[in-house]
């Protein structure tokens, strides 16, 4: 089952990007006697954050004993401290382009701090049309009132990267909520949320496949979530009717196969399972060269195909012969003649 991608994952990417960006202003060192421009001020602070982060990571890596690890942990950059400093730069220079960058840094360093909340409010109220806010959008999506903030950004922004990230973030949030509602047996609410998410993913598939979001290509991230979006096989079939590049076609076919596989398992549909099987074979035969986030399309297609062939709908359940909890041996086939609910579980 998919889980919410952690904030930490998003932040790590931004942090790695920080030192490279911070170097841009190195050439201005000659003008040391002049007061720092807002851009220089931001760059200095970003560098300071990067250095603190690097020293912390280094200390953690070198720590051997629990005591050393405890000591190293103290070197972690303090979210509220850095967030406050970045926020101060934004507030001091509201008209300077640097303000938006500084707000993004607030969300990068301390998304859940009070300063993070202020930064979101400022982005939504003062800079919702900024070209630069794509890296902040997925962070905003996961904060309280994220959905409302993203709706404002979608309404006011024209930048395709920002729009794609916002639509993805909004859709992902709705799918997560739908999934939780289903777990709580609120089937109607789950259905409603799923239907609210669907048009967003349809737009992403129709208009934003070429866009790179902050955590990778919109196509790859969207395909990862589609098995959990109701009606997504239909959307994928529609997009596949278009004239597409070899790469996009391969990825969409593999995505459709994964969606059909999940659908076939839930609905017990042999037909959907067979279609998934033949699509996966087509991907292996014709699109093996296309790179995907996890190796090549052939790798993901092969493991899905193997799963269908060995344990798919309509296949005989592999025999199990093992001990029960009390040490008594028994076999799965002992239960032939009964409907069996085979439940992989544990106390956790």
């Amino acid at each position: 089952m998919f889980r919410r991608t952690s904030l930490v994952g998003t932040l790590a990417i931004l942090v790695i990007a920080a030192p490279a960006w911070a170097q841009n202003d190195d050439k201005d060192k000659a003008k040391q006697d002049k007061p720092a421009t807002p851009a220089e001020e931001l760059s200095t602070l970003a560098k300071e954050y990067g250095t603190t982060q690097q020293e912390y990571v280094k200390a953690m890596r070198e720590a051997k004993t629990p005591e050393e690890r405890q000591e190293a942990a103290k070197k972690a950059p303090r979210p509220a401290e850095f967030a406050a400093k970045f926020l101060a730069i934004a507030e001091k220079n509201p008209k300077d382009p640097v303000a938006v960058d500084a707000l993004i840094w607030v969300l990068n360093t301390g998304p859940t701090t009070p300063q993070g909340r202020t930064a979101v409010k400022k982005i939504v109220e003062e800079y919702p049309d900024s070209d630069k806010i794509a890296p902040a959008v997925l962070t905003i999506a996961r904060l309280p009132d994220g959905e409302e903030s993203l709706k404002v950004i979608i309404e006011k922004n024209k930048n395709r990267q920002v729009l794609a990230s916002a639509k993805y973030g909004l859709g992902q949030g709705l799918v997560n909520r739908s999934f939780r509602a289903a777990q709580e047996k609120k089937e109607d609410e789950a259905k409603k949320l799923g239907e609210e998410a669907r048009p967003l993913f349809r737009e992403l598939l129709n208009d934003y496949l070429d866009v790179r979001g902050p955590t990778g290509s919109i196509l790859d991230t969207t395909l990862g979530i589609l098995p959990y979006v109701p009606g997504s096989s239909e959307m994928l079939r529609d997009v596949l009717k278009k004239d597409l590049s070899h790469e996009v076609q391969g990825k969409l076919k593999n995505g459709l196969a994964q969606v059909l596989k999940t659908e076939s398992e839930k609905a017990g549909s042999l037909e959907a399972s067979k279609e998934a099987e033949s699509l996966l074979q087509e991907v292996i035969d014709n699109f093996a060269d296309v790179r995907s986030p996890r190796g090549t399309l052939a790798d993901t297609a092969k493991s899905a195909l193997t799963d269908i062939q060995l344990r798919g709908i309509g296949k005989p359940a592999p025999e199990i012969e093992a001990e029960d909890i009390d040490g008594q041996s028994f076999k799965l086939s002992d239960y032939r003649g009964k409907v069996v609910f085979l439940d992989f579980w544990g106390h956790w």
Partner: protein, 109 residues
Amino acid sequence: MFPHERSLVKRLEGKPFALIGVNSDKDRSDCKQKSEAEGITWRSFWNGGSTSGPISTQYDVHSWPTIYVLDAKGTIRFKNVREADADRAINALLKEMGVEVAEAAGESN
């Protein structure tokens, strides 16, 4: 814990139905103790004390819980159905055998 499993076992008592677990706890006697305390009545295969034991490997299980629903012939008919979906799947398979069962609605806890 396991309210849905419990209600399935109760609802389908006396029907040609079995809930079979594959347990991946680390400690067998601990699992036994907890299961008894929780009133777990269904039988489970022991996966060798690990989430990467032989049975979960054979069934390529990477997330928990994973569910397989088999018909009376031992054929895999549904996968990863939960709650109401699971009830519907099981009822459909029992119906194929000519066994009518009451709807699950309202008695799932």
